[in-house]
């Protein structure tokens, strides 16, 4: 790790003041610290937002779910409120990394990082979530922009995510055997405005919605509707662990399983 100056922010405003130039926010640090250790990231300053109370916690009022950016994966996985409002999201959180990673890593950090193999971006997209920052509100659709890219401006801080609880939803993940991130992760959600299917781990430009699968499921929200579904391999990643063809195939398999789980 290169030299760095550490600051602990007392409030969002404080953090915004400190997060200037080559400074970076650190939330759970489960992505940033490892990247700094291998010298892939070299911020001049770290602004720790993990102890800001205003960024923490899960609220459910009616059908509206709001999760603070500094809420840990562990808290999302074990929340009683979410278990009722959107168990699929808790289930997703319970599959991120391992227990120690879940104790530190946060939803805000995950979506701000937008790793193409991360789990949360698929949920945000499929749930039609809104990303709330200290400056504005951004629809998930507009927030995730390719590999490790988001709509966030320099110094902009995610404060929460919010979404309407879906009628039905589920997440299925096929793990990379080594890293345990998603080779393919599919989040399906059936809500007031129809069916959304978001895919992570597979796209060569990051998380995306599968129109093929959405169309098939719009007619009939049933695994059987996907029996002959096909996803083109064109825009999918190929790496040592999975070819684009394999990923294309897995997307359909995971989608089928997710729909079955959502209906169960």
């Amino acid at each position: 790790m290169y030299s760095v100056n550490y600051h602990r922010a007392a409030s969002v405003a404080d953090a915004a003041k400190l997060a200037k130039g080559d400074a970076k926010l650190v939330s759970g640090g489960m992505t940033l610290i490892p990247a700094m250790k291998t010298r892939l990231a070299a911020p001049s300053d770290l602004v720790d937002i993990s102890r800001i109370d205003a960024l923490k916690g899960i609220k459910v009022s009616g059908k509206t779910v709001t999760i603070g950016a500094a809420t840990t994966h562990y808290e999302v996985a074990t929340s009683d409120k979410l278990a009722k409002a959107c168990p699929a999201l808790s289930h997703l959180a319970s599959m991120i990394g391992d227990p120690a990673v879940r104790h530190r890593g946060t939803i805000g950090g995950s979506i701000a990082n937008n790793d193409p193999a991360a789990d949360y971006p698929a949920a945000m997209l499929a749930l039609g979530a809104t990303i709330v920052t200290n400056k504005r509100q951004i629809a998930a659709e507009k927030f995730f922009k390719g590999l490790f890219e988001t709509a966030l401006k320099d110094g902009e801080i995610v404060t929460a995510v919010t979404f309407t609880a879906p009628a039905k939803a589920a997440y299925e993940k096929f793990r990379n055997p080594a890293s345990r991130y998603a080779i393919v992760g599919v989040f399906v959600a059936k809500g007031a405005d129809g069916v959304r299917v978001a895919v992570t781990g597979a796209g060569d430009d990051g998380v995306f919605r599968s129109r093929e699968l959405e169309t098939a499921l719009a007619k009939q929200f049933d695994a059987a509707a996907l029996t002959s579904a096909k996803v083109p391999a064109r825009a999918l990643m190929t790496d040592m662990h999975a070819s684009a063809d394999y990923r294309a195939h897995l997307i359909v398999v995971m989608a089928r399983r997710a729909v079955a789980a959502a209906n169960a």
């Binding site: 790790m1 290169y2 291998t38 096929f174 055997p177 080594a178 890293s179 040592m240 662990h241 999975a242 070819s243 394999y246 195939h249 897995l250 398999v253």
Partner: protein, 782 residues
Amino acid sequence: MGIEGVGARVSRKEDKRFITGAGRYVDDMVVPGMKHAMFVRSPHAHAQIKKIDVKAAQAMPGVIGVLTGKELKADGIGNLICGWMIHSKDGSPMKMGAWSPLAVDKVRYVGDAVVVVVADTKAQARDAAEAVEITYKELKAVTDASKAMDKGAPQIHPEAENNLIFDWDLGNADETAAAFKKAAHVVKMDVINNRLVPNAMEPRAALGHYDKAEDHYTCWTTSQNPHVARLVMSAFYNVAPENKLRVIAPDVGGGFGSKIYIYPEEIVCLWASKKTGVPVKWVADRTESFLTDAHGRDHHTHAEMAFDKDHKILGFKVETKANLGAYMSLFSSATPTYLYATLLSGQYDIPAIHANVKAIYTNTAPVDAYRGAGRPEAAYLIERMMEVSARQFGVSPAELRRKNFIKSFPHQTPVIMCYDAGDFATSLDTAMKGADYAGFEKRREKAKKAGKLRGMGFSCYIEACGIAPSAAVGSLGAGVGLWESAEVRVNAVGTIEVLTGSHSHGQGHETTFAQLVAQRLSVPLDSISIVHGDTDKVQMGMGTYGSRSGAVGMSAIVKALDKVEAKAKKIAAHLMEADEADIVIENGALKVAGTDKNVPWFQMALAAYTAHNLPGGMEPGLKETAFYDPANFTFPAGCYICEVEIDPDTGQTDIVQFVAADDFGNIINPMIVEGQVHGGVTQGIGQAILEGANYDASGQLLTASYMDYTMPRAGDVPSYKLSTSNTPSPSNPLGIKGCGEAGAIGAPPAVINAITDAIGTENLTMPATPQKVWAAIRSAKH
């Protein structure tokens, strides 16, 4: 004996310090004034070093020294060597290229050490290492052994034309050719044994300390054999004469072969300590370990087996290309030759065998022995061959094996080894029963209904352990003898220290060796201490690898105990005025058999040291040393059955049961033996479905961290069903065969045989990842 002696499930004496965080590993060592080293390593697989500029680095904060290979050479430090001479079939000696601890004019693999930086902190050393400027001229690289001998392939060492190190033969080519002429069936296959990274959880580390006043060096190092390290560093690398060099291997966090070898880093730390005047510590990052620990396996083999019309094996023909990487590591030449081809008879009566092995340089990390070393490669080949043959003949894989088993012992194979004992059919029966072989078809049907593919695979492995008879290995080219030493010291109060040349890095010697002593001398386990891993404390020894610590290391202890017991009985007889032949050792005392006359053990020990009343002419004290040189190898063998269930939609393999029936000879502590099998089998499953070192064509290691190299995790493996049925080894006084490597040797073919059974195609290489299994299923369908 009872609860603490041989055969008892004694929980381990060494555990206390490990479970409380009090273990002492090299990285835990602190020496006053200690500084930290960071190596600057080649980012290229093959390149000429044009220029090294260290000025900027030297000026960085905290930097004490920035040292290069030129300076190292100028100080007379020698090249690394391979200690086992192999001769090609034309009689010429192997072609060993030069390996300087710090590269001087050429780098040959990604990770090759070029410069070392010593600084106050590790972070500063790393900062400065980045400031070292090295100008390279990149050369074409080759990583695949099957291409390294092609025309136009880059030449890696001037000494080895076409990158061929040796072209070696074993067995009889003419007899084998004749056997194939008579054959009713010939089964052919091409097999790749995948390259693995050992991945002991403790990364390699070294701490070199030069004491100027004493002109003496101390090296703490993560070694499986500190004495060999000292010998080699002194005799070949000119670090220091043996009496001026102390090597300490304290607690070592796993080895699996990778910590046998002497690497550049410990040599450089010692030399750099003298050069800079400060103690120098280096601890590998995990990625450094991936790049520079000696890798394992990496064979490409074509094999053919000849059968008569009744499916009896007539002959076996094997051609192997072994990738040794960019340099010849310490025992790299022995692994694909005498540890491999000598086991090609497997458990079978094969009249004629011929093997040819070509060892080849490539621009990859050096390859050497990794858990099993050569024997997993042999077992995989034979056991895949047996299974595939059975499928081709439409007969039961178990019965094809049974028909060809060696049934009487001793059995001389056509490839040097003479098996001394075994009962292969019993292991097979035990495993089949344990796996409920009879119920398998029902389980397969049930799985099918659930949309899953179920398969079962066998592996009847044999290996050679307890390495090794010194004269025999000497005649085959070994640069060392493979005996072991022991010293048993009985203190004046009767407590005992056993100094052993074996080294424990997980094997539990502090417990098992003590059990042996407790049994023989009838003293409590707690009064026995095992001392190992320090060349200043322990007499010369050969270390731990090749499942040799029981069969060879403990046999040395037995010999020393024989001497201690004889002397103790003489003293006791003298004290009780009895006949020495009547003395028995029981319940902590030396007794006159059949009477109640006795001398407590501690009193006898005290008498030995007070020396007031010893038999005439007897020297005072009670301390004996022995060296044990084994008469033969030992031959652990067994049968493993693996059952898998595959999700055809994803290609995911679930190991639903794994049954091991082993023959390890006599067992000192079944709990520890089981632990060895669990670990070995898991590494074997890892090789079969998870692990594989993967270089791209330019020589970059793509699997250089746990993000890309799949380590077996708890969720990847099941709980195992183990049993043993043991035939004692006639080759050592304890009848021990060894158990450290069996799992890693026997498991891979069982797993792959099960998967190929499930998916109905043989077209599959290790590691059989979900993607590969899925693709194999698809290609079989189309």
